[in-house]
């Protein structure tokens, strides 16, 4: 019987069974950032422990970093302190730190892959739930808590329970204007926000195979929103070609050997899965959220729920979500006016996201009623976008082009919604208060849908706004 990728990577990295029944698993790569790691260094200090494998640990700063100016000291004292503590701790322990203006700083899940630190067959962890992003390369990539960050710093291992694996096959061909973001929003809508509990998701099928690495990262990124512990895609030619030439990837004969090894992690043709789901590409349309969880989503042609259609506790949830979003039951989502448009985050803040949008918005204007910002996911993305003069296209259209960081994905830096502003956002979470105002509202969608909303001043169908027809 063949093995799936999860089993192969797991078997490679398991060290032993622990008394609790969990397993001790070696972590190939540990990424850290300023929000969840400073406390872990404090815990190490309290116990008199050292970092076991500083060479397998890499740090960046993303959540708290302002995107208008990074002049030090940062205006927010607490943010400055966090940045300082991370800088000191990484220096003390000999950990490489991609500091602002180093040329490599950026959102942790953008930085790892673009440097080639993320490689197939690895176990990867980070004190951040969107670590699942790295699964796009065929890794077991886990978000962990700060005590676990401490465990990994001290031992390079984690105590873990094995997961079940659900294969999600997305078959067919996506229509024009239907993107990777729509695929994952659709999957979450179908399987639910806790449909993935206890599982790793393997995304496969012709739609996934046809995706670029950046699109695959968008899909894997939101595995956690579907309740899965992680998500992955089998390494293939696309993966290998993406990694070729990346800064931290071997070259020449060493690369060929590595590539062969990487390929060997892909699920065997006769691998078994605990569960399998088939998704038809024809069912996927541009998808947007209407509520306060990523699962409360509909496609752009649909209407928000009618209260008669839901029962029990679900009715309360739907009512609360609609009230919070200030939407009427059974109203169409298309046409909902927006105040803010945000393109960025570890879900959709990569070069191809900005390239695609730039093609569409060139020569057009953002609605006067909309504040629009574009935030590259890393200094490298920023550099490459500028080299292509994408920033100029965005600026000419009325977007602000910002410095790299998490920005308006969450409320830990100055980019925030104000009052009950409503934001068309390419990020991954529409939770209550997520974008910085306790009454702020978020509608998740793909970058091209954000662009369409920005131009029209209301939630719109990108296929109509940009005259996209037929198959992608």
């Amino acid at each position: 019987m063949g093995k799936n990728l999860y089993q192969k990577v797991w078997d490679d990295h398991v060290i032993r069974k622990l008394d609790s029944g969990q397993y001790q698993v070696f972590m190939a790569l540990h990424l850290i950032h300023e929000v969840t790691s400073p406390q872990a260094f404090g815990m190490l200090r309290d116990k008199g422990l050292n970092v076991a494998y500083p060479n397998r640990t890499f740090a960046t700063v993303d959540h708290i970093i302002p995107t208008d100016t990074q002049a030090r000291p940062l205006a927010d004292e607490m943010a400055e302190k966090m940045l300082q503590v991370l800088g000191e701790a990484t220096a003390e322990h000999g950990i490489e730190f991609f500091a602002p203006q180093s040329g490599a700083q950026g959102i942790v899940h953008v930085v790892g892959p673009e440097l080639g630190l993320t490689q197939p067959g690895m176990t990867i962890c980070c004190g951040d739930s969107h670590t699942a992003t790295h699964g796009a390369f065929g890794t077991i990539a886990l978000g962990i808590g700060t005590s676990q960050v401490r465990d990994v710093l001290a031992s390079q291992t984690l105590a873990m329970d094995p997961l079940k694996v659900r294969r999600i096959r997305v078959e067919g061909k996506l229509g024009q204007g239907v993107t990777a973001k729509d695929v994952i929003l659709h999957i979450i809508r179908v399987l639910g926000v806790n449909g993935g509990v206890g599982h790793a998701y393997e995304y496969s099928g012709s739609v996934i195979e046809a995706m670029s690495m950046e699109e695959r990262m968008t899909v894997c990124n939101m595995s956690i929103e579907g309740g899965a512990r992680c998500g992955y895609i089998n390494p293939d030619d696309v993966t290998i070609e993406f990694l070729r030439g990346k800064e931290r990837v071997p070259t020449g004969a060493e690369f060929d050997a590595a590539a062969e090894k990487w390929r060997s992690y892909a699920s065997d043709p006769d691998a078994e899965f605990d569960d399998e789901v088939l998704i038809d590409a024809d069912d996927i349309k541009p998808t947007v959220t209407w509520g306060v969880t990523p699962g409360q989503a509909i496609n752009i042609e649909e209407r928000v729920p009618k209260l008669e259609d839901v029962e029990g506790l679900e009715k309360n949830l739907v009512t609360d979500a609609l009230n919070y979003m200030k939407l009427q039951p059974d109203q169409g989502i298309k046409g909902t006016p927006i105040d803010v448009a945000f393109i960025g985050s570890c879900t959709n803040g990569r070069l191809s996201d900005f390239q695609r949008v730039a093609e569409l918005i060139a020569g057009r204007k953002v609605s006067d009623a909309v504040r629009a910002i574009a935030v590259p996911g890393s200094e490298k993305v920023d550099r490459e976008a500028r080299a292509l003069r994408l920033n100029e296209i965005f600026e000419a259209a009325g977007f602000e082009w910002r410095m790299p960081g998490c920005s308006m994905c969450l409320a830990m830096n100055p980019d925030k919604l104000v009052g009950d502003e409503i934001c068309a956002s390419s990020s991954n979470r529409n939770f209550i208060g997520r974008q910085g105002s306790p009454t702020g509202r978020t509608i998740l969608m793909s970058p091209i849908m954000v662009a369409a909303a920005a131009i029209e001043g209301k939630v719109s169908d990108a296929r109509e706004v940009f005259s996209l027809k037929g198959e992608e």
Partner: protein, 198 residues
């Protein structure tokens, strides 16, 4: 070992109703700006408890009759969203010692376990009944017996469940795995070398 085993938790309960209560609600992101977890208690569920100008919204956690509660009761998929350990840390620093829910998000569950906060799974009916009991008698004590997988409250016994590895870890005092992990230095070195990460 990690210290004392945890086999029983007793105390007053408080019911925070709702499915899918995410960690952004448990501790809003702006409170993540900290370099230690020590001051997080007062910010638990902050935006649900206080208005923007800091006035109390009379949230159930602040109801005088529930002051000093040790057990938080909620519904399905509790703790979903961000992996921030700030959420269970805030729960613990607030004074709560256990959480009862219909189900838990996994990272949150793992974080709670490491901190010694048992996550107890109870059925819809049982949670409804428990919340009724504490509504009528806020002083009622919930006695969680981890060994027997039951809660005794108002002379009634409720059968509950827990993730088995967590339950064993509480009983064996191995819920904080660090010491055990550090006990395998040689095996870790061997794995690093075998995998080419040394």
């Amino acid at each position: 070992m990690a210290g004392e085993s945890i086999s029983r938790i007793s105390g007053k309960g408080v019911y925070v109703q709702g499915n899918d209560i995410d960690t952004d609600r448990i501790i809003p992101a702006r409170f993540l700006k900290c370099v230690t977890f020590d001051e997080l208690g007062p910010s638990l569920f902050h935006d649900e408890r206080f208005t923007e100008s800091g006035e109390s919204k009379n949230h159930v956690l602040d109801a005088p009759q529930h002051r000093g509660a040790a057990v938080l009761i909620s519904d399905d998929n509790f703790g979903c969203g961000s992996s921030r350990e700030h959420a269970p840390q805030a729960i613990q620093k607030f004074g709560l010692k256990a959480v009862i829910a219909g189900s838990f998000a996994e990272i949150f569950h793992g974080n709670c376990t490491t901190l010694g906060i048992p996550c107890v799974i109870a059925s819809d009916e049982d949670r409804k009944e428990l919340s009724k009991i504490i509504e009528n008698d806020p002083e009622a004590s919930l006695d969680i017996d981890i060994e027997k997988r039951e809660i005794v409250c108002a002379n009634k016994v409720f059968q509950v469940s827990m993730k088995e590895s967590a339950r064993e870890a509480f009983l064996a005092a191995t819920f904080d795995p660090l010491d055990e992990l550090l006990g395998a230095t040689e095996e870790i070195k061997a794995a690093a070398e075998r995998l080419g990460y040394a």
